[in-house]
Amino acid sequence: MINEILVQFAEWLYATGGSRAIEESFYLYNWIETTHVLTIMICLGMLAFIDLRMLGYAMPTVSASKIADRLNIPMMIGFSIMFITGLLLFYAKPTYTNQSIWFRIKMVLLVVAFFNAIRFHRHMKASESTWTNEPRAPLNLRVSAALSLGLWAGVVTTGRLIAYDWYHCYRDLPGWLSAAAGCVAE
């Protein structure tokens, strides 16, 4: 049921003028994609430094809460650009992307990364005064930081794999994979 609704929504998006204009413009589409990829350097680059600081591998002599606080703004700027360009990329190819198993896994990983980030910030704010100048954060924050790095590595990998159609609906897929990819009967 949900897959049918998503397919209808994707087909409606596909039929809009804006969607066609972006996909059919070589430079517009490719520059949106380039911006999406380049902002990895801003968003994930900053995130990597925050997580590596928590794990004790980057700037161990600088207060951990100071690093997290100072790098949070550029990271969020990068994330905002990534989010907007990501929406535009989906808008340009909604029918293909909606039925990509990699896109769906990427979305799940993004949601898990979001909740992990909330948990991380909550725990950090509650306890930072006791450890912020230590070279490594307490265990629960180190686990969150390592999880964050792993989840974002997964987001990057699945994002890259969207371009490959190995498990797309026009292939011969097992039932569970077909359902997970959002395939519907013609």
Binding site: L38, M41, L44, R70, R160
Partner: protein, 160 residues
């Protein structure tokens, strides 16, 4: 010097064979790893350069930020070069005829030379001894060079 024979050989090498034959290995150990390393490299460049430009972490000595960022820059560069060689080997002949590949190689060469010949030696000592305008120019040049490397790299895939 004619480089085409080298590119032809690269495509028939073990690395070229693996990348050509196994799409999943190419996409994950080549492309995804390359992107993750790009994130860390870009992060290290931006953390250091935005600090030099007094945009972020103004309450942390720029010497410490530049030193620590350079450590991770070297790690990321090593991964980028390794995964890049692996990816290029699989499609070596196509790369040889791709203008954006050569643009990226040129930008990469300039970027590496800039970091190890100009930026790092300059910033090794106390930053208070360097004219603030020189520090800012170095930071802006560094950001421009590495964004050019990344952008030309992405356009390799769009140009044939």
């Amino acid at each position: 010097m004619e480089l085409l024979p080298f590119f032809e050989w690269a495509e028939t090498s073990f690395l070229g064979y693996i990348g050509k034959t196994y799409g999943g290995v190419y996409a994950t150990f080549g492309q995804s790893l390359h992107l993750m390393a790009l994130a860390v490299l870009g992060g290290s460049v931006l953390v250091a350069d935005l600090r030099l430009l007094n945009v972020i972490m103004r309450d942390v000595p720029s010497e410490i930020v530049a030193e620590q960022a350079h450590k991770w820059f070297k790690v990321a560069l090593a991964v980028i070069l390794s995964s890049g060689v692996f990816m290029a080997a699989a499609v070596a002949q196509r790369m040889y005829h791709n203008d954006f590949f050569w643009a990226k190689m040129s930008a990469l060469f300039v970027g590496i030379a800039f970091v190890f010949v100009i930026k790092r030696p300059l910033l090794k000592g106390s930053h208070a001894d360097i004219h603030p305008m020189v520090i800012k120019l170095v930071a802006i040049a560094s950001i421009l060079v590495w964004f050019s490397v990344a952008a030309t790299g992405r356009w390799i895939g769009f140009s044939g």
